[in-house]
């Protein structure tokens, strides 16, 4: 892509160095003379922003590590000390904590850009896969880092996630204990999480180097998705891309600063200011915002799929949702890169973006919350007023025949004029039947907006009727409900359909929009040449 080097060392020293270690040449070819498509828009500035984010995390992180103590008794206090006592510790700690959010914001925009403009298609498959690996490493690093302040959320998020690994069949339990270095999240866990949290960003830096190498081999994509035809379609990286990137970085830093200086804790969870307590679970456990969509996918599976139980299914789906990105270059069959010229795919893409946001919203809600229902939850309470209560113990000949015996007992009682009967089982074969003979049957209907409210009404009604009734027969009716879980299920379905069905089929059937001649043909190149 870059063609032969155009670097010419000017001084005696640089000529001398160039013969021994052509490092200046390398930098010049990569970041000065490197040809970039002239039609790149601002979506292309996130690469530079991401590089900055990594540097910010590493620099602030190394400083934090000078003051942080990875011990269950001191970790929480040491982070508080950084915030309060260490000179400028508050600034550096905020940079690091907010920085993680900013990093993810940038990486998501960067990934959506790649999706929209088809940057994963040949010849950039490896470039895309390296990006997916970076993202995966970022998720791991952020998860490990989040456990370090050792607040309630740190502790319980670590517990919930390690428990998920325990859901894997056969190896799950062993793997979980191996990861935790014990039988629960404790000192060994914290200590190794710190070590790995320190290590992984440098692994990320290594993969970023490969990512950029791959980029410079295949060249940048551009908003039209049409290959660059000649040198006239490009401009040198410096000053064109450099200055544009710097401008975008400046805007990004303004947003970053607003968070650091005015609302450093807005993106975190208040419970993380309570020291970790293994004996007490916080009322709700939620991950950081950038992992909420995956949390929603995890919890969407509240049903078993054949032999796979719901918990394992959720875990597998969660990993699959990232794994599927690795296969995307081969799932999308369309030969047109940019969605600019794919009118139908563009609609599905927009829905996909909305679905990702919906998943994020669902991940932060209580999954049982009801969003819509066909009616109220109702119950009918029946009891007998007056009459005479008799009880009788009975024993079925065997456990299997219990139901049949109970039914015949009910009939016997009905034959004796019972208005209502109740069987309460005391063991495998023995039970007591209570019957009210005579009296008048009463009914009361209750309704409420939720199961809990209905149960409360039932309790209240029972208390009100009180001793007037020997027992109650209660029939509950549940309306059709649409919960947060159902919404997550729909969104999860679309997420996977988009990659597994929509993109493969659409690529074969869709008629792409026409690329204007001014873009398809190198008009400019001819004029220049």
């Amino acid at each position: 892509m870059s063609g032969p080097s155009t670097y010419e060392p000017k001084t005696a020293f640089t000529r001398w160095l160039d013969k021994r270690l052509p490092i200046i040449r390398f930098g010049y070819d990569s970041f000065v003379a490197y040809p970039t498509p002239r039609n790149l828009n601002y979506w292309w500035t996130f690469g530079a922003i991401l590089a900055l984010c990594l540097v910010v995390q590493i620099v602030s992180g190394v400083v934090l590590a000078m003051h942080y103590v990875p011990h269950v008794d001191y970790a929480f206090a040491s982070v508080q000390r950084i915030e309060r006592d260490v000179p400028y510790g508050w600034l550096i700690q905020n940079m690091h904590a907010v920085g993680a959010s900013m990093f993810f914001l940038a990486v998501y925009l960067h990934m959506f850009k790649g999706l929209y403009y088809g940057s994963y298609k040949a010849p950039r498959e490896v470039l895309w896969i390296l990006g997916c690996i970076i993202y995966l490493l970022m998720v791991a690093t952020a998860f490990l880092g989040y456990s370090l302040p050792w607040g309630q959320m740190s502790f319980w998020a670590a517990t919930v996630i390690t428990n998920l690994i325990g859901a894997l069949p056969l190896v799950g339990e062993g793997l979980k204990n191996w990861l935790m270095g014990g039988f629960s999240v404790d000192q060994p866990t914290l200590n190794r999480f710190f070590s790995l949290h320190y290590l992984l960003p440098f692994v990320i830096a290594g993969v970023v180097a490969l990512h950029i190498w791959a980029l410079h081999e295949s060249g940048q994509n551009n908003p039209t998705g049409v290959d660059v035809k000649s040198k006239a379609d490009t401009v040198p990286f410096t000053p064109h891309a450099t200055i544009k990137d710097l401008f975008a970085v400046a805007l990004f830093l303004i947003l970053f600063s607003v968070f650091i200086f005015y609302m450093p804790d807005a993106l975190g969870h208040a419970d993380n200011f309570i020291p970790a307590n293994p004996l007490q679970t916080p009322p709700e456990i939620v991950p950081e915002w950038y992992l909420l969509p995956f949390y929603a996918i995890l919890r969407a599976f509240d049903f078993n799929i054949g032999p796979i139980d719901s918990k394992l299914a959720g875990v597998l789906a969660m990993f699959a949702s990232i794994g599927i990105l690795f296969l995307l270059p081969w799932l999308d069959t369309s030969r047109v890169r940019s969605m600019r010229y794919r009118p139908v795919a563009r609609q599905f893409f927009l829905i996909f973006v909305v679905v990702c946001l919906v998943l994020g919203w669902c991940g932060g809600q209580n999954p049982a919350n009801i969003l819509a229902r066909s009616g109220d939850f109702t119950a009918s309470l029946r009891w007998v007023e007056g009459g005479q209560t008799t009880t009788q113990d009975f024993t079925a000949p065997s456990e299997q025949q219990f139901e049949a015996t109970a039914a015949s007992m009910r009939e016997t009682m009905a034959g004796r004029g019972a208005t209502m009967t109740m069987v309460s089982r005391a063991g495998a074969t023995n039970a007591t039947i209570t019957a009210v003979i005579g009296g008048t049957e009463q009914t009361r209907n209750l309704s409420a907006y939720s199961v809990e409210a209905l149960e409360e009404e039932i309790i209240a009604a029972k208390a009100e009727i009180g001793a007037g009734a020997p027992f109650f027969v209660i029939e509950r009716n549940t309306p059709m409900t649409f919960t947060v879980t159902n919404l997550s299920q729909l969104a999860t379905l679309y997420y996977f359909l988009f990659f597994l069905v929509i993109l493969p089929i659409l690529g074969l059937r869709e008629t792409p929009g026409r690329v204007p001649d001014t873009i398809a043909k190198p008009v400019l190149a001819k004029e220049v040449a």
Partner: protein
Amino acid sequence: MSAATNQAHAGEEGTRRDFIYIAAGAAAAVGAAATIWPFIDQMNPAADTLALSTTEVDLSAVVVGQQIKVMWQGKPVFVRHRTAAEIAAAQRDDYANLKDPQHDAERLLQENGQPGKAEWLILQASCTHLGCVPTFVTGSSYGGWFCPCHGSDYDTSGRIRRGPAPRNLDVAPYVFVTDTSIRIG
């Protein structure tokens, strides 16, 4: 084997060399695996962590109807002194419609297979859904434990009755050391 192939193999000096390559390669692979193993195994629970894996509990201080939480392997364990009413409810519900059917007596079994005592229920205090610590009674419609995280409801035997948890609360492995003390683990 035909004479021709025999000859070809014997005649080629390469065969011996191939053998040396393969042997050396195999030895190096075994060596690499043997070197990597300690680096993997070091992450497993260490000897002192394993040594902490039993806890003795004196039961004499726990009155009827009371429950204490003790730490075992860094995890909380419920030691519950059940009331007669709780025991009766637990035994009655042996035949109720259970998600994870189990009799109360099975849940009292000691680690050595001896039957336990109906008053003493020793449970791991971690919800089988995603590991939160359930609270006793408050919120439970079955008089047992209720998990605040996603609303799993357990009865007085710690069996799951409602909510997303797949299994009953796990029984902690324990034995009676004396009449009034148990060892967990």
